[in-house]
Symmetry: C2
Subunit: 569 residues, 2 copies
């Protein structure tokens, strides 16, 4: 067995995963991991939870140390060491010890780049004043905790409503701070469509988190004195001024490609390192994994950037396999992701409607609000679900879900179904585990499949939440079939009320010269009504997701309807 | 639209589901549901939870009433009405009102049989004395509650360790009774393999539930006086005598086929109604669904009986579709099922190893014990997982999991993967939702796939828990690579201890003339050790599941090794 030398730049998710797999495949290889930061293999995704104390000890975040990796895997890990250059001809890198400044030239047979990403910096002055923090690594979150404690912070502003921003908002709230979230887009958590993000907006507001959507930061003004604000007065486009004792910058990340660019490796149009399906760069002796690379979006076929830990770990393993002569392919990513926000969980997989419409791909959306488990067993909570599929082929294109319970399970099942190539119709037949504490005889995923079957078989046509504000009463009759009690909690503007159980007797009150859109609370009873009415000769569509979906959409300011495409609108 | 007349025998899961779907497809049909019991569409699976008060009110179990079904769906529901004969020539049934005794002859265009199952009765006298109960319907559980309260019961004996038996044991324990579970087989929950059932045995014992395995009831003796026992003295084959104030009979069920047999419909070899893939019986005007029919086992291809609510509901819908001219197929069942038992959840899908070995089907088993979510986030708990696959094709054949958290999700993902035809290797690539509260960057399902890949690619060979007691030290060296602290909690008999981090320095202590079986706590570190050793030229196998799996198997008395078959043993 050849004692080849494999160097890895970056020792967190993808890099650490590649190193461990390499050792298991090749006991004799010399494996050296260079990590710029002070820690190797730390729990990147756990950083926000340390700030709020949910993860109590700093050491909980440190999954390995250079010593433990040497003991277990004979990995030579050099922390606080930056690789500053690659000589592709000579197959060497230059590594600089950041403590001593000493440089060394290190030969390699194979090189893996796992440098990760760098946080986006708004091009505004003031960010370098104390009290402004990114959330990249363990020292960052230690400093945040220290700042909060020593300065007795009371007001935090989180800039950016993505995963890290929202997780930080929750954790800072947990620390007792008054928190504001500032987001340039009209919604938080961009992978969700706006009506689904509405649930998160509502949850944030319910916890007194001030939400500034559609309102980018224009300045981080120096406060006149620490009593006004200990970090910045954060100024927004709308004119709002938010005094902040602490500013968290969570605007997202871009691939760290400094080294790759210097080495002349091919980059993609989105700024990530271009790799082939074996995760090889344009130099056949150099592989790249993790946040730094562009990957294929498996739904749309487009190149994309997907800075997530799961794919990074898999890529690390796959790069190691290929280096060791086991040809394995990374086919691309599905964008499965999840967020816990206070009582809610929000998760998604595949493409969202915004993206599909933008790309002009045919798609149909259904909304449903099934219970997390059997309604007769205590504690069932509705899950807001959205399923996207190709109306012609039935291909699953994406799914989103938000709710207090059971969201992760349904998204994982849907992600698995989508990756396996099941059609939306086939979801109806999945045999999932049912006992009252866990699900229903017809699981939410089954129900999604049944609804989609009904659409695809022409049993029902759907109207969408975003049509409601544009309805012309001369052309459309909006019918609410809920109970009186439900209606008193709020109703669709312009709707006429006939409870479902009276419908058969009151058909004469309905117009035959106009289309009827039927709504209820979740879209199920209105489906029953739609079937009833269409069999009585009425022109009818069911408002998918009905009142609940429409009402959540109201929480997203000016939630623009998606541009129409060939799907049903 | 023809006003056809459709009769349904049985108004619970499959029958109720068929009826509602029929109405949505055909507003003009006359749909009549006959239900022998006093309730229609009740929550069968919720019955045990009512006994312990988890479901507090009886009415929570009643999902619909004849009136609500008439209001919403114009279903004519006749409760306490038994269909006593079918005249297939005339296409009529004879229905008897059980209250008045009056009979009527009812014509049909289509007939659906959804009569369910009847509980198995041990052929022993004494069962008809007061205090002995089956758990079939709402009156049963009301009577159980009433009996417990009015008799101040203290000791319950549950005969049968299946789903209902175990759920009842938990609920009776919740009521403060001393509970014994009696099972003729050497394990509870037969769909699990014995080493997986071991976790349930441990959990029952931890809650002071007396467990009598491998010990069938031989008599229900009349107690000399109510102070001895208010129901029976339950006598077991072993000689054990259990005084019981309450006896629950939960020995399983058989298909209710009285009517079908009288009508001359074809029955299967297992005693269920034989149907085709459209759920049509041997009479083309009669369909059958639910517990009463035999279905194809999708893994083994064998006919099977699967009295579960999920399949019954889907079958009801499919029968309705076919009756309404929408040809839909029911391809068979996967046996996905789940149980909550105190702090644990146990679930399975597909075939178990016992069945696969008995049928001589090639299969390989892997065991793992991943955390329910990232270890650095509080509250992670190990899940005991077992995956079965065809070693030649990689086809997934079954999965079992037991643990306090996250079990339902992993089994649902595995069930979906299996049903979609993914190979075990493809589990490694599934992109599942990861944030610290929900999973790990490498989800348990991904880990299962990676382990199986390693086996299939020849990177590791596995030993199984049941080989341990038969090991010959002259031929096999059993190596424990855990820490000293772990070893002090208990160790494999005959194992030699070298902690993983000392292994490279102590290779000279290992024999080159014998096979080495390496074990750790879960099978992961021992895999690292196995890779290390095999690259150093040792003959080595990894004990899959390692100490945890072996230790759980010890909870199952005389857990016999499965008969060998073509898989790796």
């Amino acid at each position: 067995m050849s004692a080849r030398r494999i160097l890895i730049v970056g020792g967190v998710a993808g890099g650490a995963s590649a190193a461990a797999r390499l050792r298991r495949l090749d006991e004799s290889a010399q494996i050296v991991v260079f990590e710029r930061g002070p820690h190797v293999s730390f729990a990147n995704c756990g950083l926000p939870y340390f700030v709020g104390g949910e993860i109590p000890r700093r050491d909980d975040l440190l999954l390995h140390t250079p010593d433990s990796l040497w003991q277990r895997f004979r990995l030579e890990v050099r922390v606080k060491t930056e690789v500053v250059a690659i000589d592709r001809q000579a197959r060497t890198v230059t590594a600089r010890d950041l403590t001593t400044g000493r440089q060394s030239v290190e030969p390699y047979d194979a090189l893996i780049l796992a440098p990760g990403s760098v946080p986006l910096r708004p091009p505004l002055p003031g960010l370098d004043r104390p009290g402004h923090f990114f959330v990249r690594n363990v020292p960052d979150v230690e400093q945040i905790r220290h700042w909060i404690t020593t300065r007795s912070c009371q007001r935090a502003v989180v800039v950016g409503g993505g995963y890290i921003g929202l997780e930080m908002a929750e954790q800072l709230h947990r620390c007792g701070l008054a928190v504001a979230v500032v987001e340039a887009l009209p919604q938080v958590m961009a992978p969700l469509d706006p009506e689904m993000a509405g649930w998160l907006h509502r949850e944030l507001r319910a916890h007194d988190v001030a939400l500034h959507l559609n309102d980018p930061v224009t300045a981080f003004e120096e406060p006149p004195d620490p009593a006004t604000a200990q970090a910045s007065v954060v100024c927004l486009r709308s004119g709002t001024r938010l005094p902040a004792d602490l500013v968290i910058l969570a605007l997202g990340v871009r691939p760290e490609v400094t080294l790759a660019r210097q080495a002349g490796l091919e980059l993609g149009t989105l700024g990530g390192i271009r790799v082939n399906e074996h995760l090889q760069t344009s130099d056949p002796h150099i592989w790249a994994v993790g946040d730094a690379i562009e990957v294929r979006d498996r739904v749309t076929g487009q190149w994309t950037l997907l800075p997530l830990a799961g794919p990074a770990n898999r890529q690390g393993r796959i790069a190691a396999d290929n280096i060791c002569g086991r040809p394995t392919r990374y086919e691309g990513s599905w964008g499965t992701a999840i967020l816990r926000l206070f009582r809610l969980t929000a998760a998604c997989t595949g493409a969202n409607e915004k993206t599909l419409r933008r790309l002009g791909l045919p798609c149909e959306a259904i909304h449903l609000h099934p219970g997390s488990h059997a309604g007769y067993y205590p504690g069932a909570q509705p899950i807001a679900m959205k399923i996207l599929f190709d109306p012609h082929t039935g291909r699953l294109l994406g799914a989103q879900a938000v709710g207090p319970e059971g969201v992760d399970k349904r998204i994982d099942v849907l992600a698995t179904a989508m990756q396996a190539g099941l059609t939306v119709d086939q979801l109806a037949d999945l045999e999932l585990a049912y006992a009252p504490p866990f699900g229903s005889a017809k699981d939410p995923v089954n129900l999604a499949g049944m609804i989609a079957q009904n659409v695809r078989q022409g049993l029902v046509q759907h109207a969408q939440w975003h049509e409601i504000p544009r309805l012309d009463p001369a052309r459309t009759f909006l019918l609410d079939v809920r109970t009186e009690a439900e209606r008193q909690q709020g109703a669709l503007p312009g709707s006429v009320h006939i409870p479902l159980h009276q419908l058969r007797q009151r058909l004469h009150e309905l117009p035959r010269d106009r289309e009827i859109i039927v709504a209820c609370q979740s879209g199920q009873r209105s489906y029953f009504a739609a079937r009833l009415l269409s069999q009585h000769g009425f022109r009818v569509r069911n408002l998918t997701g009905s009142y609940r979906t429409w009402s959540a959409a109201q929480e997203s300011p000016a939630a623009a309807p998606p541009p129409s495409s060939s799907g049903n609108g």
